[in-house]
């Protein structure tokens, strides 16, 4: 799978938040096989020597700084510029959630910031609600992928937005990464079976009883879900279809 100018062999993206130690985070993220790892700019020192950042720079890993904490497009753009300078990457997970209670992304500010950042040469991956029209608008301004939510960040509630995610997947011309709300490997597999290009999982790994084992479980689930999607799933049926009561007479004519 290709996003921007990079090829990814793992479709499991991860984050660095909520782990009980940086050591454990490093081990879990290695077990996940993840090649794209998001880090909140606000959590780290502005240098790649930061203890947390040092642990997510293995050769196969790419850093995806995020603007968590920004409430407006202006704040997010400023944070992005700083992040590009500090971490030497133009990749950015654009997060603007002015509502600290449910952390719902602001569609208007996100679109504004995305447009500006694309012009400035960023590879922009915006975190958004599962809004099919917004996804098309973001595509038009040139984002590299869209990241619609499955349910609220950290809620572990799975794909509450399932039917809207399906619309987004069906009509998107950029990769669709289902972000937020994925609480179990089965949720990740479900998103992949639906045709999502990737998923981003953080809380469900970090807060689990064994983050390293859980990361490995997510890795397998994402691979299984993708393989099932590519193999084309058999469709569920309401009843057995044995005869043709309405059109069977045609055979007798």
């Amino acid at each position: 799978m290709k996003i921007g100018d990079k090829m990814f062999s793992s479709r499991l993206f991860t984050g660095t938040g909520k782990f009980n130690s940086n050591e454990l985070m490093e081990e879990a993220l290695l077990a996940s096989g993840s090649e794209l790892i998001t880090v909140a700019l606000k959590r780290v020192q502005h240098t790649l020597e930061d203890d947390l950042l040092r642990r997510v720079q293995h050769p196969h890993q790419n850093l995806l700084p995020n603007t968590s904490g920004a409430r407006t497009a202006k704040e997010a753009v400023f944070a992005a510029q700083l992040s590009r300078e500090a971490f030497q990457t133009n990749w950015l997970k654009l997060e603007i959630h002015p509502d600290p209670k449910y952390l719902m992304p602001d569609p208007i500010e996100t679109l504004k910031a995305a447009e500006e950042l694309v012009k400035e040469g960023f590879i922009v991956l915006p975190y958004i609600h599962a809004d099919p029209v917004l996804c098309k608008r973001l595509e038009e301004v040139g984002v590299a992928a869209v990241m619609p939510l499955g349910s609220a960040i950290g809620s572990n509630k799975g794909l509450q937005t399932r039917s809207f995610l399906q619309m987004i997947i069906d009509q998107s011309t950029v990769p669709v990464v289902v972000d937020a709300g994925i609480g179990a490997p089965s949720h990740a597999a479900e998103a992949m079976e639906m045709g999502a290009d990737a998923v981003l999982v953080n809380t469900a790994i970090a807060v689990s009883g064994n983050p390293v084992a859980m990361a490995a479980a997510f890795k397998m689930a994402v691979e299984a879900g993708r393989m099932a999607y590519e193999a084309r799933l058999a469709q569920p049926r309401e009843q057995a279809a044995a005869s043709s009561p309405l059109t069977g007479f045609l055979n007798e004519l």
Binding site: G17, K18, F19, N20, S21, N22, L41, K42, R43, V44, Q45, T67, G69, A70, R71, E75, F78, A79, L82, S83, P98, D99, P100, K101, Y102, G154, S155, N156, T203, A206, V207
Partner: protein
């Protein structure tokens, strides 16, 4: 709701005695229902802080632990207070800085502020809480602006716990870089409030009560609330504070909120406590807040004992201080005569960070960035 409405309008519709009575009338069945619901309202909160909830403490603790980890992860934010001044024009019957308490008064100079900053930076802190009494002539807006400008290069987040200010002044301070403002109502019991604050600008109950509204309108990132436990019945006072939080969250929806739990500590000239809050009560309250509201930040200071703090970090607290000094200049040139109150847990930051790690949490010293202001 018009923009001119404040919490005072909500407050005026509540009657202290009725609230108190309804809390004490809650039954085990009310508590059971509150615990089983997916979303809890203020009536459920009453049940959770009522005496009827006492037998449910372990269950509440398990729930609070789980809800906190889900939202905040296995991370604990660390902060440290920096007392800038102990000058104060108010009389507060319980406070070591009260005008009528005979202690030496001191306000830090630029050089002294920077001396403190260097020490706190050395200890690893990124989040600093600036604290003063209320002396508007010497420690007012200009003093705060200057302090913020001096301190910004050292830290990633500055908060303040100072006298209530006007909306326009808050706007300026937010612009200068203040992230959070903490203003405790002390007590929501209006008559007792007046007894405990007989003199000074602080004696104006309504002005203090409307401070979070002024902060919300000024666009501050975070507002800290709390009551001072010991002045009045803690359950009733807490209910009012939760109702205040509930009102603010709906009205100023872009703002974060934090709750603190100051229990009165011995201090120079201290008053006799009217209501004593036991350790068990405080745990019940912390868990009740978390079960009621999964997003509110819950904060703990060094007023509490080491053993209490070691356990409470698992029960819903999301931010905690260590090694605090409550005298201006206390880190670079300590003088116990200048203290607001005696702290209890005096372990070093390194020691306490180890305690946090052993409890299964990552101590976080930086969780904000000037780039986001």
């Amino acid at each position: 709701m018009s923009s001119e409405t404040t919490y005072l309008d909500v407050f005026r519709q509540l009657d202290w005695d009725e609230v108190k009575q309804s809390i004490y009338a809650k039954t085990a069945a009310d508590v059971r229902r509150a615990l089983d619901k997916p979303v809890r309202d203020l009536e459920d909160f009453k049940a959770l802080i009522s005496p009827a909830a006492a037998p449910f403490l372990e269950e509440m603790a398990v729930m609070s632990n789980r809800l906190t980890q889900q939202r905040f992860g296995k991370a604990m934010n660390l902060y440290i207070p920096m007392y800038l001044s102990n000058e104060c024009q108010n009389i507060c019957t319980y406070c070591g800085f009260s005008l009528d308490v005979d202690i030496p008064r001191k306000t830090l100079s630029d050089a002294e502020i920077e001396a403190e900053a260097r020490i706190l930076l050395e200890k690893g802190y990124g989040h600093v809480l600036l604290v003063t009494g209320e002396a508007n002539k010497t420690v007012g807006l200009d003093y705060f602006r200057n302090a913020i400008r001096l301190l910004k290069p050292y830290f990633s987040q500055l908060s303040m716990e100072v006298q209530p200010l006007d909306e326009a002044q808050y706007r300026i301070l937010v612009e200068e870089g203040i992230y959070a403002v903490l203003v405790y109502q002390e007590t929501y019991h209006e008559r007792d409030y007046k007894l405990h604050h007989p003199k000074g600008k602080k004696s104006n109950f309504a002005y203090r009560l409307e401070t979070p509204d002024r902060l919300g309108r000024a666009g501050v990132h975070k507002i800290g609330l709390g009551v001072l436990f010991g002045l009045e019945d803690w359950r009733t006072d807490t209910f009012f504070c939760a109702s205040h939080l509930d009102y603010l969250e709906k009205k100023y929806w872009k703002t974060r909120y934090a709750m603190s739990f100051p229990r009165l500590r011995p201090c120079a000239g201290g008053v006799e406590l009217k209501s004593v809050m036991s350790d068990r009560d405080l745990i019940q309250l912390i868990c009740a807040y978390r079960i009621f509201n999964q997003e509110v930040e819950l904060s703990m200071s060094t007023r509490e004992s080491a053993i209490f703090r070691d356990h409470v970090i698992k029960l819903g607290i999301t931010s905690i201080s260590a090694e605090s000094k409550t005298d201006p200049g206390g880190y670079s040139s300590p003088d116990v005569n200048l203290e607001q109150f005696e702290i209890d847990d005096d372990r070093s930051t390194t020691e306490f960070a180890d305690v946090i790690r052993k409890a299964g949490y990552e101590p976080v010293f930086k969780d904000w960035d000037w780039a986001l202001m």
